[in-house]
C-alpha cells in the first residue's frame, strides 16, 4: 500500500512523484485500489473548485459533480463551450487496435515515451495509454459524432507519423466535438445543481492556508468585483501558455495567469522551456498578424513538403522543375519523410528558410504540395478528405490550394511544460491539482499528435475523480470561510495590482509590449536556442518588464468590462514566465525533443540528448527573485522503453 498516496510531494526538499510500486501494467489499478474513498453520503460536504472548463476542466467538473461533490467551476469565457480545446482539429489517440494493425496499450505507451524524447515519466504515460480506451467509449456514449465506416463502426486514421491507425476523429473538428460532449455533461450537472458554473470569472490568485490550497480569488470580468471562493481542494485546468510568444495557434485569450499565480504561491513549474512548434501553420502575412492558424497535420499524409533547391529562387512554384525542387523531408528522413515528427519537421523548415530558400512574402515559408496526390487520387478525393482545411486556407490567404501549393511555416502550438505534478496530478502545494495542458506531465520534451486531447480527458474523466477522493478522504470538512486573513490579504493584493495597472497611464499599449516579448521569445527561446541568445533574452526581458510597469497604458476603469485590463494582467505574467522559460532553456545544455540547443547536435544536425546529466524533470521553485529560482530535479528512470537516440531516418 502506498502510504499517504496524496500527501505532500516534497519531502526534505526532495521531489517525490508518488509512483506506485509494482509492474507498470498494474500500477494504476493497484493504486486505485490503495486509495481511500469518500462515501457517497459524505461527498456533498466537500467543495472542489475547478478552474477552467476546457476538456480537462469540464470533464473533471462534470465527473466530480456526478459523483456528488459540491463543485464550483470557473472560466473567463462567457460559456464553457468556448474554451481553446474547441479548436483542436486532427483527432484523439486510443490504443483500441480496431484495425488489427498491431496496436496495443504498450505500443501507444512506447511511442509516447519515445516521441517525448525520454523526458516523461513511464508510469504516467502507461496510465495514459491504458485510459485512452475508456475515453473513446465515454465520448461515444455521450454522442460525440466520430467518423464512421459504412458498416457503422468507428473510423480511424494514422496521424502525426504513427505507424498504426489509432487516431479517432470527427472531420477536422475533433476538439469541438469532444469539448461539446464534456460541456454537455457539465451543463447537465449545472442543471442538476451539483456544479455551479462561474463564467466571465478570472482567477487572479490562489489562496493557501496552513500549507493547503483552500481557495481562489477571482475578478468578475463584467463588474470588476474581486471575490473569494473557498474549497477543500483546487483543480487548475487552465490550459497552456503558448501565447507568451504573442503569435501562436492558441486562442487569443489563452494565458498563464492561473498557473503563474499558483507558482508564485509555491507550486513548482516543470520544464517551462518545452514548447511545441507545429510544422504546418499558415505563415505570417504582416505586422498586423494577431494569431496563427494551424493547418491540420493530417495534411502531411498527402502533401509533399518542398522548397527550391536554389537560393533566392522567386519563380512561381509551377515554373520550378522537379529537378530544382528539394523535397527535404523525404531526402533527410527517407523512412518517415513528410510524416517526420513535429519537432524534426519544424526545425527542418527553419533550416531551409535560414538558408534563404524559403518561399512567399518574407521568405519564411515552405510549400506543402498536393499536386501529386491530386494526380493520383483525383481532386474529389482530396476535397472529401481535406475540403474544410482547403476552404479555411483560402479564406485566410485568398489562394486556392488545389491549384497552387499551400505555404506553411512552423508556429508555437503547445506547451509541454506546466506546473509540476506527482502521479496523482497534485502539485507541490497540497490540495492543488493540475490537469490538462496546464500540467507538465506525460508528453516529455515533445508531444505526439492527437495526444493532448487524450491527456486532458484522461486527467479530467478518470484520474482526478480517483486521486482527489483520496486527498479529500484524509481531510475533514471544516468551517473555513472567506473571512480568513489569507483570503482578505489575497483580495487586497489582487485589487492593488489592478489599481496599479490602471494608474500607470503610460504611452504604450498592452499589445505592443506583448508583441515585443513575443519577438524576443521566438528569436531566442524558439525553435533553436543557444547560450548567447538566451543570455541576451535574459537581459532584455527584465528591461521590458520594467518598462511595462512604468509605461503601459490601460484605459477605463476596473468596475466595467475592460478588455485592456484583462490583457494587461496576463501580459504582466507572461513577462515573468518568459524569463523562467529562458532560465530553464539555458540550464538544459542538451537537446531533446522540441528543445534544441545549437551547441548540442549530432554531426548531421539532429538533437543530441545528454542522458547522464539531463534525464530529469526540471522543477523550478519561485523565490521572490525572478532571476534566481531554485532548481529541483526529479530523476527519470526508464525500465520499459530503453533510452536510445531517436532516429527517424
Amino acid at each position: 500500500m502506498t502510504v499517504g498516496a496524496t500527501s505532500a510531494s516534497l519531502v526534505d526538499g526532495r521531489l517525490d512523484a508518488k509512483l506506485p510500486p509494482g509492474p507498470i501494467e498494474q500500477k494504476w489499478e493497484r493504486h486505485c485500489f490503495d486509495m481511500k474513498l469518500v462515501s457517497p453520503a459524505n461527498r456533498r460536504r466537500y467543495t472542489v473548485l475547478v478552474v477552467g472548463s476546457g476538456l480537462a476542466g469540464a470533464a473533471a467538473a462534470a465527473s466530480l459533480g456526478e459523483l456528488g461533490y459540491k463543485v464550483e467551476c470557473f472560466s473567463y469565457h462567457d460559456s464553457p463551450r468556448r474554451a481553446h480545446s474547441i479548436a483542436a482539429q486532427g483527432g484523439i489517440n486510443a490504443a483500441k487496435n480496431y484495425r488489427n494493425d498491431g496496436d496495443s496499450v504498450f505500443r501507444l505507451f512506447y511511442d509516447t515515451v519515445k516521441g517525448g524524447d525520454f523526458r516523461a515519466r513511464e508510469a504516467n504515460v502507461y496510465r495514459l495509454a491504458e485510459l485512452s480506451l475508456n475515453i473513446i467509449d465515454q465520448c461515444v456514449a455521450q454522442g460525440v459524432p466520430f467518423a464512421r465506416e459504412y458498416g457503422g463502426l468507428l473510423d480511424t486514421r494514422s496521424f502525426g507519423g504513427a505507424q498504426v491507425s489509432r487516431t479517432f476523429y470527427a472531420r477536422g473538428q475533433t476538439g469541438q466535438q469532444l469539448l461539446l460532449g464534456a460541456y454537455q455533461a457539465l451543463e447537465r450537472q449545472v442543471g442538476l445543481g451539483t456544479v455551479t458554473m462561474h463564467t466571465r470569472a478570472e482567477m487572479l490568485d490562489l489562496v493557501v492556508v496552513d500549507g493547503r490550497a483552500r481557495g481562489i480569488v477571482t475578478r468578475n470580468l463584467v463588474t470588476g468585483a474581486v471575490e473569494s471562493h473557498v474549497g477543500d481542494a483546487v483543480v487548475l485546468a487552465t490550459g497552456g501558455y503558448g501565447n507568451v510568444f504573442y503569435l501562436s495557434t492558441n486562442a487569443k485569450a489563452s494565458n498563464a495567469t492561473a498557473i503563474w499565480r499558483a507558482h508564485k504561491r509555491g507550486a513548482f513549474f516543470g520544464n517551462p522551456c518545452f514548447t511545441q512548434i507545429h510544422p504546418t501553420c499558415i505563415p505570417v502575412s504582416g505586422e498586423h498578424q494577431s494569431k496563427l492558424t494551424l493547418m491540420s497535420e493530417s495534411l502531411r499524409n498527402d502533401g509533399r513538403v518542398w522548397v527550391p533547391t536554389k537560393v533566392g529562387d522567386t519563380r512561381p512554384p509551377d515554373r520550378i522543375p522537379i529537378g530544382e525542387r528539394d523535397y527535404y523531408l523525404e531526402r533527410k528522413y527517407p523512412s518517415f519523410g513528410n510524416l517526420s515528427p513535429r519537432d524534426i519537421a519544424s526545425r527542418a523548415a527553419k533550416e531551409v528558410c535560414d538558408e534563404k530558400r524559403g518561399v512567399g512574402p518574407g521568405g519564411r515559408g515552405v510549400y506543402l504540395d498536393f499536386a501529386d496526390a491530386i494526380a493520383r487520387l483525383g481532386e474529389p478525393a482530396i476535397r472529401e478528405k481535406y475540403g474544410n482545411l482547403f476552404d479555411m486556407y483560402e479564406r485566410i490567404t485568398g489562394e486556392n490550394a488545389y491549384r497552387v501549393p499551400m505555404r506553411i511555416y512552423p508556429a508555437v502550438h503547445y506547451t509541454m511544460g506546466g506546473l509540476w505534478v506527482d502521479y496523482n496530478l497534485m502539485s507541490t502545494i497540497a490540495g492543488l491539482f493540475v490537469a490538462g495542458e496546464a500540467n507538465f506531465s506525460d508528453h516529455g520534451a515533445n508531444r505526439l499528435g492527437a495526444s493532448a486531447l487524450m491527456q486532458g480527458l484522461a486527467d479530467g474523466y478518470f484520474i482526478l475523480p480517483c486521486t482527489l477522493a483520496d486527498y479529500l478522504a484524509r481531510m475533514r470538512p471544516d468551517t473555513l470561510d472567506a473571512g480568513h486573513p489569507a483570503f482578505r490579504a489575497a483580495e487586497v493584493e489582487v485589487a492593488e495590482r489592478v489599481r496599479r495597472l490602471l494608474a500607470i497611464n503610460g504611452t504604450r499599449t498592452v499589445d505592443s509590449f506583448h508583441r515585443e516579448l513575443g519577438h524576443l521569445m521566438w528569436d531566442y527561446c524558439g525553435m533553436a536556442r543557444n547560450e548567447a541568445g538566451l543570455r541576451h533574452a535574459l537581459r532584455k526581458i527584465p528591461e521590458l518588464r520594467a518598462e511595462f510597469w512604468a509605461n503601459v497604458r490601460v484605459l477605463e476603469r476596473n468596475e466595467e468590462l475592460n478588455q485592456s485590463l484583462e490583457k494587461a494582467g496576463r501580459v504582466a505574467d507572461f513577462l515573468e514566465l518568459g524569463e523562467l522559460m529562458c532560465i530553464d532553456a539555458l540550464h538544459r545544455t542538451e537537446s531533446c525533443g522540441s528543445h534544441f540547443r545549437e551547441e548540442r547536435q549530432t554531426p548531421d544536425g539532429e538533437a543530441l540528448r545528454d542522458d547522464e546529466h539531463f534525464a530529469h524533470v526540471a522543477a523550478w521553485e519561485y523565490t521572490d527573485r525572478l532571476a534566481e529560482p531554485n532548481l529541483h530535479r526529479e530523476p527519470l528512470h526508464f525500465e520499459y522503453v530503453h533510452l536510445s537516440q531517436r532516429s527517424y531516418r
Partner: protein, 265 residues
Amino acid sequence: MNLTLRVWRQKSASARGRLVTYEAKNISPDMSFLEMLDVVNEELIDRGEPPIAFEHDCREGICGACGFMINGVAHGPKRATTVCQLHMRSFRDGDRLTLEPWRARAFPVIKDLIVDRSAFDRIVQAGGFISALTGSAPDANAILVRKEDADLAFDAAACIGCGACVAACPNAAAMLFTAAKVSHLGLLPQGQPERSARARNMVAAMDREMFGSCTNAGECEAVCPKEIRLAFIARLNRDLLGASFRGGGARNAASPSDRTPRAAP
C-alpha cells in the same frame, strides 16, 4: 484601403448606446476583420479613447465567441463565415460599414458589441445532452451508427453557438440553435432514450429565456456560419410531436412545454 466605420458604443448594460464614427486607415486586404478592429483600437488607445469592446477568442471560426452585425447582416457579407474569418479583401476602399451588436431580448448588451448569450447554456442545461455517467460506457464499437446518420448528426453538431441565427431572425427565435442540438443527439442511437424529453425540455427553456417564436422566415439559415440547415427545425418539430404523444419523462426542466409545435417547413 480606408474605410469608415459606424460602431455601436454602449458603456454597460444599463447605459444608453449610440453609433460613433471612426476612420480605419491603411488597412491591408490580408487583414481579418478583427485585425482591422485591432488596428482601430490601438489608435484609439493612443488617442486616449476607450477601445471598441468585441468578443473573440479562437479567430478560427470555431469557438463561436465572435459575431456582430455588419451593415445589418450577422457576421457580414461572406457566406458561411464568422467575422473572425472574414478578411478585408471582401471589402472595397471607401466602404462605409455599420457595426452593431446582436439585437435580441434574450441577448442583453453587456458593452459595445458584446452581448450576453448565457441563455444558450441554459437551453443546453435543460436537455441538450445524453445522460452518460463517466465510467458507465460500453465499448465504443458496441454501438453501431450508420455512416449517413453519423454524418448528418455531425452536420448538426457543427453549430458553434454564436447566436447569429437569433440576431438575424425577425422574431429573435433560437430555433436553429436548439434544433441543431436536438437533431445531433436525436440522430444517434445513444440519444434515443431521452429524445422526446430532450426536445420538449429544450423548447420549454427557450420560451423561458424569452426567445421569440419561429415563423419560418429562414433568415437564420442564411447567416449561419456553419450552414446549419432549416430542415433540422422540421426534425425538432417531429420530435416535439412525438413528445406530446408519448409524454416522455422530463428530467431537468421544471415544467413541460405548453406550446404547440412549430409548423414544419
